[in-house]
Symmetry: C2
Subunit: 583 residues, 2 copies
């Protein structure tokens, strides 16, 4: 059997940064070539970053991507890396008219094989996702070829991301084409437990394709999305050969023994209308060599560690890719802002994290103590600015009462944070969690102020779990647990009026979150939720809160998605909406 050393470069890419992304491709190709790789694969649209959204509709950007691809092929050769075939995702244009009605020249989610200074083969994604956060029918012409490259005497079939998630198309086609290896390039956003789904899927597809199947994943973050890596190689019986770690940039190298390609290259129509396009790069197997990379199988992370690492990755990507270094957080001593601060310290280093305690007359003694304790434990910078004088100035002019008075305090803090941000430069982080966002338990332009909401897709009950996990992880490493015990154990309160508690307005978070998960994440109606044993009046009240808070969510900052349905592009509801679920 011919041997092949495969390199899956699981790397980060930044949307729009054609130069920077090309640099990364060259750097990681050299890393792989130095280690003797025969075929090097990068993630989906690594050259442009993913998703590019409406940049795909700007022809200047599409042309720039095509030009960058050609330049990259030349540069790899010029730097002595032309001998190794490199598979790179990019944004291409098409000559055809879009089958869904878009005009000629519509773009393609494409990938290319670069070899000896040339672009030797290009192809486009066949199955286009148009659900959840995906809008690919909006942009792309689907591909209609089944690409196969012969490398070192092995036929390598190629596919892009969603082609693996849908039945039909390139996977059965790979079997028909008699491929010895199937390589898929991906940029699949993180969701909790998606790694398990993904592994099962790759195993199933490898068995369908009847050959070793490699899945190269993106890592890093882009706006609300996080890519968790987890590149995988599985053999034709579905056994895992190698698996990269989650949330890291790395080159997964593996030595494979693969079936020799047939004498006659495959041709014709494979399946689902796909025309086989075969290119021979090197027909002869490489000289036999000693296996060095048997395949490392990284352990996947536990749920809490996985979610927490996703939050760290998402925040770090947003801050640094947008050209910032530091962040500013209003610290109330509560669990939400404390968790956000811990995530920020892990993402950027405590020296880049600035906290402000902004007590009012309703702030408890322990609030200030807990914020100070958080600063002591983590090493973040803390200052205190009481909001009393600003509060008095407004109250003297306007004489506010009730909710208006409560919201005023929150908005004074928002204005204070933005003033310090404008004066000193750090990005403000919003501390809202998913439970609050769902029911509108927050003040627009108050505690919702910020460039990024690191925990906006984390239910309050999970906020507690993550805080406890982070402290326990620190204790295990003999480090100081970052989050004060009191911030975890005290009953949650907004402290906007005397003795206020969250439970004055909301049910217990365990009950609330269970109802929200059914309604928000799984689109269940009230009858189905009540049928699971929840009180009908409570269900109706919670669902009404969710429906009427849509306007607040629309103006909330972006934040890391970790669930199947975050309050971002994956949940699109009208604000003007008189539909009310009735139990």
């Amino acid at each position: 059997m011919p041997q092949l050393r495969l390199a899956l470069n699981q790397i980060d890419a930044t949307v729009g940064d054609l130069d920077g992304n090309a640099d990364a491709v060259v750097r990681w190709t050299r890393h792989a070539a130095d280690r003797g790789a025969h075929f090097v694969a990068f993630p989906e649209m690594v050259l442009t970053g993913y998703p590019v959204e409406d940049l795909a509709l700007r022809s200047s950007f599409v042309e720039a991507s095509c030009a960058a691809l050609r330049a990259l092929a030349g540069r790899l050769a010029a730097e002595g890396l032309g001998g190794t075939p490199v598979l790179v995702g990019y944004l291409d244009r098409s000559g055809e008219r879009h089958r869904y009605g878009q005009p000629a020249g519509s773009p393609k989610d494409a990938a290319a094989v670069l070899h000896r200074g040339e672009v030797v083969l290009t192809f486009a994604k066949h199955h286009l996702p148009n659900y959840g956060v995906f809008d690919e029918f909006r942009y792309f012409v689907p591909g209609d070829t089944m690409p196969v490259v012969r490398v070192a005497g092995v036929d390598v079939a190629l596919a892009i991301c969603e082609d693996l998630w849908q039945d039909g198309g390139r996977v059965p086609s790979a079997r028909i084409a008699g491929a010895g290896l199937l390589v898929t390039v991906n940029a699949s956003p993180y969701e909790l437990n998606k790694d398990d789904t993904r592994l099962e899927l790759v195993r199933k597809r490898a068995q369908e394709a009847g050959c070793t199947t490699a899945y190269v994943a993106m890592t890093g973050g882009q706006d609300e999305l996080v890519y968790d890596g987890d590149s995988i190689v599985v053999d034709g019986r579905g056994e895992v050969v190698a698996r990269a770690a989650q949330f890291t940039e790395e080159c997964l190298l593996v030595d494979l023994d693969l079936p020799a390609a047939p004498a006659e290259p495959p041709a014709g129509i494979a399946d689902d209308g796909l025309r086989i396009e075969h290119v021979t790069l090197s027909a002869e197997p490489v000289a036999p060599y000693t296996r060095r990379y048997a395949g490392v199988v990284a352990e996947s992370l536990g749920d809490e560690e996985e979610m927490y690492t996703a939050l760290v990755t998402g925040l770090r990507a947003y801050v640094t890719k947008n050209g910032f270094r530091s962040v500013l957080i209003g610290l109330s001593g509560g669990i939400d802002s404390s968790l956000v601060a811990a995530v920020a310290c892990d993402a950027l280093g405590a020296e880049q994290v600035y906290g402000i305690s902004m007590p009012s007359r309703y702030s408890s003694r322990h609030s200030r103590d807990d914020a100070a304790e958080l600063a002591r434990r983590t090493g973040l910078h803390l200052r205190g600015v009481p909001i009393g004088p600003m509060f008095d100035a407004y109250m003297e002019s306007l004489g506010l009462t009730g909710l208006a008075e409560e919201n005023l305090q929150s908005r004074l803090r928002g204005t204070l944070l933005m003033a310090v941000s404008n004066q000193e430069g750090p990005l403000v982080l919003a501390p809202g969690n998913k439970s609050e966002l769902a029911v509108g338990y927050s003040t627009l332009y108050g505690d919702s102020v910020g460039a990024y909401g690191p925990i906006k897709d984390v239910y309050k009950s999970v906020v507690f779990r993550l805080a406890k996990w982070r402290n326990a992880a620190a204790a295990e490493r003999n480090e100081i647990p970052p989050i004060p015990e009191n911030s975890i154990s005290k009953p949650p309160s907004a402290e906007l009026r005397p003795d206020q508690l969250d439970t004055d307005s909301l049910p217990d978070y365990d009950v609330l979150d269970a109802i929200l998960e059914l309604y928000v994440d799984r689109d269940r109606g009230s009858a189905e939720i009540v049928a699971r044993g929840y009180d009908p009046e409570l269900v109706e009240r919670v669902l009404r809160m969710v429906d009427t808070a849509e306007y607040k969510r629309r103006q909330y900052p972006p934040g890391t998605k970790i669930s199947p349905k975050g309050f971002g592009k994956d949940r699109r509801l009208p604000i003007t909406n008189r539909w009310r679920e009735r139990a």
Copy 2:
């Protein structure tokens, strides 16, 4: 030739308000039946409102829509209206698997004919738009039938909205089926000059169909979208027979002489795979009668009146459909807030419009005078609350300078407006225009505060045109022009530092808006813009401002779309984006 009195009920609908929308259908059906109509048509998805967005993914809502349709059929009959066939748009479910990969049970954008208490025919939209503000591939299974109902001896072919905008499908099929009349139901969002496009399209399609073609349109507003009515009837040669007014609810009645249906009902496959589905409701022509409705052809509005009326319609819909009555506006005496106030007075009545003048030390004398003059002219409520004390409280605590000091003033006003809104109830309106939003010339959580931004899709140069038009229209009617002359004639200024002018930071608005229109609305790259004669450095600077202001737009309130590409669902760009156009 058989006669037929056709009624096109061009009405408003509210998303999610199944009861209210059904009431409107009954009320307007009675109106048409009282006037002897033989066939009554309503807009696309009139029963659910349009667009329902992700409500389509909640099966409880889909089931409720289907139940509401059956109930409506029964109620029409019970109220003595069962004898007249009624065509109603609604949301249906499908048994099939979605051809684009959605699961079985996926919804359909459907319409039904109701007659004698029964749902006698249903069909679904064939062409699904998935560009601009539309995401219909996300939701809907496309229809695969060509429905024809025989009414009073005439075969009436039916279609939904986008079916008319795309070549192929139901329009040529109507000719193949030998229909005597084609009726299309629509909910087509307003854009400037779309009425001209629409008329030409209906004329072209009528000629292709070879029969009289009726287009029934929605009117009113839903979040950012406005429907401008403009229902049309065109004969088979493309001549306009009748045309409803823009932005009004009305029943367009027209007496038509139509070819008799063939003895043998059409059957088989028409075109584009569409299976003809024919139902006979009444095979005999009605007894000859005297024509009473020859067809009124309403004049279309001039550009300024059309845009202004769209703004009034959009704002009124947002406020009233969300259960509010009054609005609150920060009045600086400038042209933007003055135009917003004029629109609000026209939408809700001046007694429901509250203005606050919030002068700072940098506010000019004329600012306060102009705001007072606006109140005198329109009759809106005005009060003044100086922000000096709040400003001093912050400055003493934080010692801000430069941009931080400028933004502070704007945010103090935002907080003040929200406090009054919380205390007294009116919705806050944001006065930002499209030029400001494009280049980020606004303060996040400051002048961007609000539930709705009535002029967010209006370039500054158009703001001037609309203000002048509104004043001239008043003068023509011998009314007091609402907007003070000085607000129109003085040079624009944010008044956040001494002697500040917009032109300190921005080019003249005529130049700026021309560049923005090319970049934002038409997705042209910098090379193309420079080729039109604009200074390369200026183009690069403007485009960079647009790119880096994405984060501000993401948190801006919704507002009425009047252009081909508003800053809403029709422009989806990443915030994290290193792509920069270079001239």
